[in-house]
């Protein structure tokens, strides 16, 4: 059992938002999915006020040790989520974290207020990889914009508020600090890294032109950013980025994460969350508990601080 923002999880492994559709998975795998559900809590895909169809295909590109996706946040919208998805997700038997995004503080406030009314929702995660209408910059790329958003929505809910940080910024720890100062309960990182791919004629392959890179290719970046954020804030951290084994999860925990999210690896192995948890447990049993973790954390900090000396 793990405590995260006063929510009890049966394991410290969750899914990254938008990387596992539990409703579709139940159609594919039937009730077998529920017998050993891979995640200690389920994170929804990003929900927006209005329904979104998502980007035109092609939406995927296989990259070196990873992939680029340009999905465009398709979802049923807030009403569809509350009426259609939430009752089905409640059957999973794990705490539910709902991820939301809006292009203005007013939109996000509406989403947060509606979710605050629902007992099935254990926590709310803010997707801040969305352009600020006024500045054109991603809200999560700028500590000032992020602070203003969290300040606006914090009073609207007593549920834990998690800020999903974007790695596409100069100083992710400064953004995390802004989230902490304005009363967020946790941060999660890293989101995908902005990326693109060209076809053989040199034209953009993806229907949405740019997308996000994920998978093992970004693991080392995730480790550095989680370590950097852990040094600057005291909030619990959901660490993610290219985790495909228990050892990778142990690295993120060593760098300061309380929970570890699995994303792209679930595409390759639908039960990856179960396997990674088993592997992590055997590592924790084999190691000597917190001493090992602290030693590993020190090591990460040394490595991060030593720049390219490795």
């Amino acid at each position: 059992m793990v405590d995260f923002c006063a929510i009890t999880l049966k394991r410290p492994i969750v899914n990254g938002s938008g990387t596992f559709d539990a409703i579709a998975a139940r159609r594919a795998f039937g009730v077998a999915l529920l017998r050993d559900f891979p995640f200690g809590a389920f994170v929804s895909k990003t929900i927006t006020l209005s329904p979104r169809e998502g980007n035109p295909p092609p939406r995927l590109w296989e990259a070196q040790a990873g992939m680029i996706n340009s999905i465009g946040l398709p979802n049923r919208g807030l009403h569809g989520y509350l009426e259609h998805d939430l009752p089905q997700l409640a059957e999973l038997g794990v705490p539910l974290i709902t991820n939301v995004m809006g292009s203005t503080a007013a939109e996000v406030s509406q989403l947060v207020e509606a979710l605050d009314d629902r007992d099935e929702v254990a926590a709310i995660e803010l997707n801040v990889s969305c352009p600020n209408v006024a500045t054109g910059l991603d809200i999560g790329a700028d500590p000032g914009s992020l602070a203003a958003l969290v300040r606006a929505v914090r009073p609207l809910t007593g549920k834990p508020l998690i800020v999903k940080l974007t790695p596409n910024t100069a100083d992710v720890a400064a953004v995390a600090l802004a989230a902490q100062t304005e009363g967020a309960d946790a941060v999660s990182l890293i989101n995908t890294l902005r990326a693109t791919a060209l076809d053989r004629s040199g034209a953009p392959w993806l229907g949405g032109v740019t997308g996000g890179l994920s998978g093992p290719a970004i693991r080392a970046i995730a480790l550095a950013q989680v370590a950097a954020v852990a040094r600057r804030v005291s909030l619990p951290i959901v660490g993610m980025g290219g985790v495909s084994s228990g050892a990778h999860a142990a690295d993120l925990i060593a760098a300061g994460a309380t929970l570890v999210a699995v994303g792209t690896e679930s595409f390759r192995d639908p039960a990856a969350g179960c396997r990674i948890w088993e592997e992590l447990k055997s590592l924790q049993i084999a190691g000597s508990g917190s001493t090992t973790v602290n030693a590993a954390q020190a090591q990460v900090e040394v490595d991060v601080n030593s720049g390219d000396s490795a």
Partner: protein, 268 residues
């Protein structure tokens, strides 16, 4: 028709592989898997040498409709077109595969008394061959019209059960009808306009079959192909636009879609 998959991927043994014309047929043991429905597919990855090949690919598993399923074993057919199929082509008996499936929904039988015409070709052969086997074992009359690039590729027609009457077309005329599979299909529909068409093939061929069926007012089920990362609805990568608006995921809403739902088969 949808058979649900065991949850997670399973490691299975390759029991053999052979070349059929331009194609590779791979056989694998699947003692713990259910019997799939024709049109369903699996996600396949080699258990080793996957993710560390040329250009550090392949990374994602590959979606392949099954060709045959019998006595705890499965077979697949593919052509070498990239790093994933290249790695799969290199597998021999004794190697191992990661397998997830069966996934998606398969074909639905025609209404009582109506014939089935299977139309397609190229790497679209597997679901049609599996469906011909199932229909042939019942009391549905079935015929196949199959198109290929040339005689070497047309050897793939051998994978469709011989009990199913078949006509072949090739682009270069090296075997069978010199022309398009839709010309053969059109002739079949002239003889029996009440048949149900089941189609699978490269996008341009599938689109030609779809357009012909629409023009002739013939009911058709299309087995679509799309690049996908997961195969079980998680990644939202494999979408196609549908007439009712928006997109559907080929992996969970297909791969078999009623032709009336689709405007045009995308080229990708």
């Amino acid at each position: 028709m949808r058979v649900t998959a065991p949850f997670g991927r399973r490691r299975v043994a390759v029991t053999g592989a052979d070349d059929v014309g331009a194609y590779r047929v791979l056989h694998a043991a699947d003692p713990d898997g259910p019997v799939p429905a024709p049109g369903q597919f699996y996600m396949l990855a080699a258990a080793t040498g996957w993710g560390a090949g040329e250009d550090e690919r392949p990374f994602l598993p590959r979606a392949l409709s099954f060709l045959g399923a019998a006595s705890g074993g499965l077979s697949f057919m593919f052509e070498e077109v990239g790093p994933g199929t290249r790695r799969l082509c290199g597998l021999v008996a004794g190697d191992e595969l990661w397998l997830t499936g069966p996934l998606g929904n398969g074909f639905a039988a025609p209404p009582d008394g109506q014939r089935a015409i299977l139309a397609g070709g190229g790497v679209g052969i597997p679901p049609l061959a599996a469906w011909a086997g199932t229909l042939g074992a019942g009391d549905v009359a079935v015929a196949a019209v199959l198109g290929f690039r040339d005689a070497h590729h047309a050897e793939g027609a051998r994978l469709v059960p011989a009990s199913c009457p078949q006509a072949v077309a090739t682009d270069d005329g090296s075997v069978g009808h010199h022309g398009l599979v839709t010309e053969l299909l059109s002739a079949e529909l002239d003889r029996d306009a009440a048949a149900v068409v089941y189609a699978c093939g490269p996008p341009r061929m599938l689109e030609a079959v779809r357009a012909l069926c629409e023009q002739r007012g013939v009911s058709a089920q299309l087995a679509l192909e799309a690049g996908m990362a997961c195969g079980f609805g998680a990644c939202f990568g494999c979408v196609v636009p549908v007439r009712e608006g928006g997109y559907v995921r080929v992996c969970v809403d297909g791969p078999v879609l009623d032709a009336s739902r689709v405007d045009a088969i995308p080229a990708h």
